[in-house]
């Protein structure tokens, strides 16, 4: 790898780390109800009027069950609203391209996808959705699904910090403040930065332009003109990145020049992917009264993502042995990026594509600026595995950290036993109930991913492999086809939303199966998480002593990392062996 590559990697992770503290500190103030640097002078009236109009007493404390019901009901309303919007889009305004209503299965899949913060896209934005659907349906969900995740995290933190009480805060308070004081201001800043770089923001009908180089199709027809899709992109992209949503305005997502035109827009978008998730670690530290605890979690995330990112970049830069055999120059020099550039944008190159791939899969973002399907086998294994780890290395805003905390609970449990005490985290004893709930959280994603993949490959997949191509949804044969299906279900079953592509998913089976996977992965995990919050809040606080396992030291970070990697590896190694690993070995063996 070139020194330029190293510089870009270091710059990205350094800036991310530097921003975590100020933003994290600010978010803690938001959730603790403290003055928020004058932001309440801008949005305070809006916050108060929302409470007044909706008849909410934001100081009313909720038990975990009430909190869970509020989250679920609110998300259900969002789900049905998007479904209705998509089904009725043909009759609604702001639809210059006159797109018709979505099919029921696509509407279901899309509504589930955006309510769950997955943003899996079975549709292509510019050929399917009206501006109204994009803005009122998807962009709104981008905000509130992210805010829901953050709210649940805050409830869990309260559970950890409160003592002998039955309540964990108020969902509406957490939801409204997350949206108004965190997501909205940040989105405005990012949207303006993006517009400055040339990201489009308009309501115009699509433009038809003459091409500079006419194209000739296989049947001889000449292509002289091209339709340019337009629309209010910048505002949606800002929140899609910040809220770890990832649903692109256009089908090719942030590889599209109107979504991501320059290296600077690329850096801003890339930073936005992990920004809030990283800063929430610091928020966690502030709220539990020991910022070292937050840094420890952030360190654990860095320890996992940095080597994997470097590995992906290295794999991609190494290129493909088959080309080497043909004496194709794959080295990086002034004239070319070298390596495997298939499916990558020339304006981003190898490093920024690899960096984006690992950031978007580490976070449950799912936006892309390069096609993961075209990565080298091991380069593509990394994003897939980052998803399979459970979207907890950064993960979705809020949801990533609460998922991480479940792994911390498991790590604390095993480590606690090893030092001869009933395990405790931040002074709260981890007992059978917490283990039951944490086990559920760890159990459900692999269940969804593996069972979903199994059903998909013995159904349509096996038909394809047997030569019945008609029924197939797979566009690639062999081990790579398997990787594509595995990736799709990993993505849906962990609420990531990125795709390996290469798999046609807009058909009833995949829409339904993946939609259900997304719903299961999101809400089956939220409920046990809130249950733990409630159970922890009821517990007494045990003051630390020399016999207490310190949870902020490098050793414990290593223990958490080890637990995550071991569980992740043990669960998915056989499947990965039959997909990317076989592909890699075959690729080497062939040359």
């Amino acid at each position: 790898m070139t020194s330029n590559a190293w510089m870009q990697l270091i710059l990205y992770f350094a800036v991310l780390g530097l921003l975590a503290k100020p933003l994290g500190w600010y978010m803690a103030r938001v959730y603790l109800g403290q003055p928020c640097c004058g932001m309440e002078r801008v949005f305070g009236w809006l916050e108060r009027s929302i409470y007044r109009v909706a008849n909410i007493d934001e100081r009313h404390e909720m038990g975990w069950r009430q909190y869970a019901v509020a989250v679920l009901l609110f998300n259900a309303v969002g789900f049905f609203a998007v479904y209705a919007l998509l089904r009725l889009q043909g009759m609604l305004p702001l639809n210059p391209q006159q797109f018709a209503a979505c099919t029921p299965d696509l509407a279901f899949n899309t509504a589930a996808s955006f309510a769950t913060n997955t943003n899996w896209q079975s549709y292509a934005g510019e050929t399917t959705l009206s501006y109204l659907s994009q803005m009122l349906g998807l962009t709104v969900q981008n905000f509130v699904s992210a805010a829901s995740g953050m709210a649940v995290l805050v409830a869990l933190i309260r559970g950890l910090t409160r003592r002998t009480t039955a309540t964990i805060g108020n969902f509406w308070f957490d939801l409204v403040r997350s949206t108004l004081y965190i997501l909205l201001p940040l989105s405005i800043v990012v949207a303006l930065l993006l517009v400055s770089q040339g990201v489009i923001q308009n309501f115009r009908p699509y433009a038809t332009v003459n091409v500079l180089q006419p194209t000739v199709a296989s049947d001889g027809t000449k292509g002289e003109t091209q339709t340019l899709a337009l629309g209010p992109a910048a505002s949606q992209i800002a929140i899609k990145q910040l809220g770890t949503n990832g649903g692109g305005f256009f089908n090719v997502n942030s590889a599209h020049p109107f979504e991501n035109p320059t290296p600077i827009s690329n850096f801003v978008e890339l930073l936005s992917i992990l920004l809030i998730a990283a800063a929430l670690c610091y928020t966690f530290g502030v709220m539990v009264g020991d910022t070292r605890q937050g840094w420890a979690l952030l360190a654990a995330m860095y320890v996992i993502i940095v080597p994997l990112t470097v590995f992906t970049a290295w794999q991609e830069q190494n290129g493909v042995p088959a080309y080497t055999a043909l004496s194709v120059d794959q080295t990086a020099h002034v004239d070319q990026p070298g390596g495997n550039m298939e499916g990558k944008e020339t304006r981003f190159g190898i490093v920024n594509s690899a960096l984006w791939a690992s950031a978007t899969t580490a976070a449950s973002n799912g936006s892309v600026n390069a096609m993961h399907d075209s990565f080298t086998p091991l380069g593509g294994l990394v994003p897939m595995w980052l998803i399979q780890l459970g979207e907890i290395v950064f993960g979705g805003v809020g949801s990533g950290l609460y998922g991480m905390l479940m792994f911390v609970i498991v790590a604390v449990f095993i480590a606690g036993l090893m030092v001869g005490r009933t395990p405790e985290y931040l002074g709260k004893k981890i007992e059978a109930y917490e283990m039951k709930m944490a086990s559920l959280v760890i159990l459900i994603p692999p269940l969804v991913v593996l069972v979903g993949t199994a059903i998909a490959v013995i159904g349509p997949g096996l038909d394809y492999a047997a030569g019945n191509e008609i029924k197939s949804n797979l566009n690639n044969p062999g081990a790579h086809g398997f990787s594509e299906v595995l990736y799709a279900f990993s993505s849906a079953g962990n609420n990531n939303g990125s795709a390996f592509a290469g798999l046609t998913t807009n058909e009833p089976f995949n829409n339904l199966a993946l939609g259900l996977a997304m719903l299961a992965a999101r809400y089956w995990l939220m409920i046990p998480t809130l249950a733990i919050a409630g159970s922890l809040a009821r517990k007494k606080f045990t003051p630390p002593s020399a016999g207490t396992l310190p949870t902020h030291r490098p050793l414990f970070v290593a223990m958490v990392v080890g637990t995550i990697l071991l569980v992740g590896a043990l669960t998915f190694v056989p499947a990965l062996a039959l997909g990317p690993i076989v592909e890699h070995l075959q690729m080497i063996a062939a040359s």
Binding site: I414, L417, G420, A432, S439, L440, L555, L566, L570, V582
Partner: protein, 690 residues
């Protein structure tokens, strides 16, 4: 402390024999169902046996020998786990048998009313109910647990405690409780029975050591849940591998799908069988270690809680200090020379048989070379201590030598026409300030000087407290002394805190305060007035020599009645948890190597390139799978000693403990199976088994 108990050897041949038989009887599916991990292996064994028999009848692609080989080792896995449990139980059973031998049915002399002279009738001990009254005379076995209501006797309790020296049991006070199965050696006592048949201390003890009523402890349940979750995950991993494999075969156009035998083998290798198979053995062994330490825990929960203790309440007398105060210094009054004071002090104490008096004689001998003299040989008259004078001493050669508390001696001196000089007062105050007890020695009208009686802190106790502090445990000394004295002794012994002028109420309040602060409190006690505090404490160790009420209130009984035992109890509790944690880590870390063995083997025909992952260079696919299964079974046997003995605990603080255990059991768990599986593979090939 002379104890006849000695640690039972780990592999006692009779226990070993019984455990082998029990390993088979435990194959009962109802017993297997209790442990989800081992039940999964059990089902897998049955499944593969069926497949093997089927392959014998109608030979298929997979050889019957291979299937039955895998099946046999799966059965061994189950049997080894059963064996581990049986070994742990066996040690308890052996102990129970010894105890049961003492519970012979004896004849009891039942009294019509609780008086020695009441009419007596001979009944069988097993018919005695609570509140019956019996007479026990010299040579009789005490028929049941009870409280002495009349009389005093020396009792041989060695059957229960292993302590050969007889103990005194008498009515009233803190030595009134007697245990069924012990023998009265001299005199007689009238006992009110306090337990119905089957509920006596001995019965409970037998039940506990046999593990008959063993309930899962809270941490064990939590770990069980985690292990069950891991088992379900691996079940899904293996079950979905079949469709994945079918797809791969179709896609690659070669090979055959993974067989059920290989899937079961993979499943058993992946699920945490090492810890699953040893889990109950670890729990039983923990209780057993308590018993080896002569402590009877009323529940496994109490043993586990011992590991969590943050605060230890220790009685000063007998635990931190020697039972009695001892003379450590003579301080002469102005104008008196030291040998003269020592001589007089010795004379005053010659006939004083109290431990304090004897310690004065010892000090005089050790420090001033004054040999002990006999009061009668000297022709001296011993003046004993009385409640009126509060002095003792001798009249000898016309001298009136007395010693006693400052106030009493001052009265004596004044009565003889003398007075205390100011320096005597100063010495008296100085000693009191430092936590000592001043005794003044006077000769007629003249105060000669002061003896400093001090509490002697037990040797080595300070080091134990330092250790406890490193373990994160706070020590609190409980004493009836005034705060000044208490502070001095606390500083000398190195305890973290003290409770002076302690009353039962103050003790109870202190425990509640600590508990409200989220701490777990352990204490020892023997008197009836300790009962409320014992009942409140999380870990309460009652002394076997204590009252019935104290034993009822506590959740452990120390048969040696040694208050320092608390420290050992805490260590045993910690060991129990550490052993579980260490083996869980080891078990999960093992899986990495097993993947490297089985994955290439399972897909060898479909994707031959996967053989690159065969980093151990295992000979053939079937030898690889068999080796992994055999390793998985043998590692259970190899770890039985560790499970029974427990991971050693050292007081080094949590962080270091975690680092060391992670290195040994985490990293070790990753590395060991690579070598183990390779070795077994080489053996299999050399022996031409595959």
């Amino acid at each position: 402390m002379a104890t006849t108990h000695k640690a039972r050897p780990l592999f006692d041949p009779p226990i070993l024999r019984r455990a082998v038989i029990d390993a088979f009887t435990k194959l009962d599916p109802r017993r297997q169902l209790r442990n989800p991990v081992m039940f999964t292996v059990f089902v897998g064994s049955i499944l593969t046996t069926g497949l093997g028999i089927d392959a014998l009848i109608t030979p298929g692609a997979e050889s019957a020998a291979f299937i039955l080989g895998v099946s046999a080792w799966l059965w061994f896995t189950v049997l080894f786990a059963n064996f581990a449990e049986a070994m742990a139980e066996g040690r308890g059973k052996a102990q129970a048998d010894t105890l049961r031998a003492t519970r012979r049915d004896v004849q009891a002399k039942k009294l019509s009313k609780p008086e020695y002279n009441a009419t007596r009738s001979l009944v069988s001990a097993s018919t005695l109910r609570k509140d019956d009254v019996v007479l026990v005379e010299a040579g009789d076995m005490i028929p049941s647990d009870g409280e002495v209501v009349e009389g005093v006797a020396s009792v041989d309790e060695s059957a229960i405690t292993g302590e050969s020296a007889p103990v005194i049991r008498e009515s009233g006070g803190d030595r009134s409780s007697v245990t069924g199965g012990t023998r009265v050696l001299s005199d007689w006592i009238v006992v009110r029975v306090s337990a119905n048949p089957g509920e006596t201390f001995l019965d409970r003890m037998i039940g506990l050591v046999e593990g008959a009523k063993r309930q899962k402890t809270p941490n064990e349940i939590a770990l069980d849940i985690l292990l069950a979750a891991m088992t379900i995950i691996f079940l899904i991993v293996c079950a979905t591998l079949l469709p994945f494999s079918k797809y791969s075969v179709a896609a690659a156009g070669q090979g055959s799908p993974i067989t059920v035998t290989v899937l079961v083998a993979l499943l058993v290798c992946l699920i945490p069988t090492t810890i699953g198979g040893l889990l109950s053995a670890i729990g039983i062994a923990g209780m057993d270690r308590m018993i080896q330490a002569n402590v009877i825990a009323m529940s496994g929960r109490a043993v586990e809680a011992a590991g969590d203790v943050d605060v230890l309440l220790l009685d000063k007398t007998g635990t931190i200090t020697m039972g009695n105060r001892q003379a450590v210094e003579f301080i002469p009054a102005d104008g008196v020379d030291l040998p003269h004071l020592a001589d007089s002090a010795q004379l005053a104490s010659l006939a004083d048989e109290t431990p304090e008096g004897r310690s004065v004689v010892v000090l005089a001998k050790d420090r001033y070379g004054l040999r002990g003299r006999n009061v009668h040989d000297l022709g001296a008259t011993f003046i004993p201590f009385t409640a009126q004078t509060r002095l003792s001493g001798v009249d000898f050669d016309g001298r009136k030598i007395r010693k006693g508390a400052a106030q009493s001696v001052e009265q004596f001196v004044i009565g003889n026409g003398g007075s205390f000089s100011s320096d005597v007062h100063r010495h008296v105050d100085g000693i009191a300030r430092q936590g000592g007890t001043p005794l003044v020695v006077a000769d007629g009208a003249r105060a000669l000087g002061v003896i400093n009686l001090k509490d002697i802190v037990k040797g080595g106790i300070k080091e134990r407290f330092i250790e406890l502090r490193q373990m994160g445990i706070k020590t609190v000394m409980i004493t009836g002394d005034n705060p000044q004295t208490a502070a001095a002794i606390a500083a000398e012994a190195g305890v973290d805190d003290f409770l002076a002028e302690a009353t039962p109420e103050a003790k109870l309040k202190m425990i509640r305060d600590y508990q409200a602060g989220g701490r777990l409190v352990a204490m020892t006690g023997d008197g009836t007035n300790d009962s409320p505090a014992l009942a409140q404490a999380d870990v309460a160790v009652a002394m076997n020599s204590g009252t019935q009420a104290a034993k009822e209130a506590g959740n452990m009984v120390d048969l040696d009645s040694n208050p320092t035992k608390l420290i050992e109890i805490v260590e045993i509790g910690k060991q129990l948890l550490m052993t579980r944690g260490a083996l869980t880590t080891f078990s999960l870390a093992n899986d990495v190597a097993k993947y490297f063995a089985i994955i290439p083997a399972a897909f060898a025909t479909t994707y031959p390139v996967l053989n690159k992952l065969n980093v151990m260079g295992l000979a053939t696919p079937s030898s690889a799978i068999l080796s992994a299964v055999i390793f998985n079974a043998l590692i259970i046997v190899a770890l039985i000693p560790l499970a029974l003995r427990g991971v050693p605990y050292r007081a080094v603080g949590a962080a270091r403990l975690l680092r060391d255990n992670l290195l040994i059991y985490g990293v070790g768990g990753l590395v060991v199976p690579f070598f183990g599986i390779k070795l077994i593979d080489v053996l299999l090939v050399t022996l031409r088994i595959v």
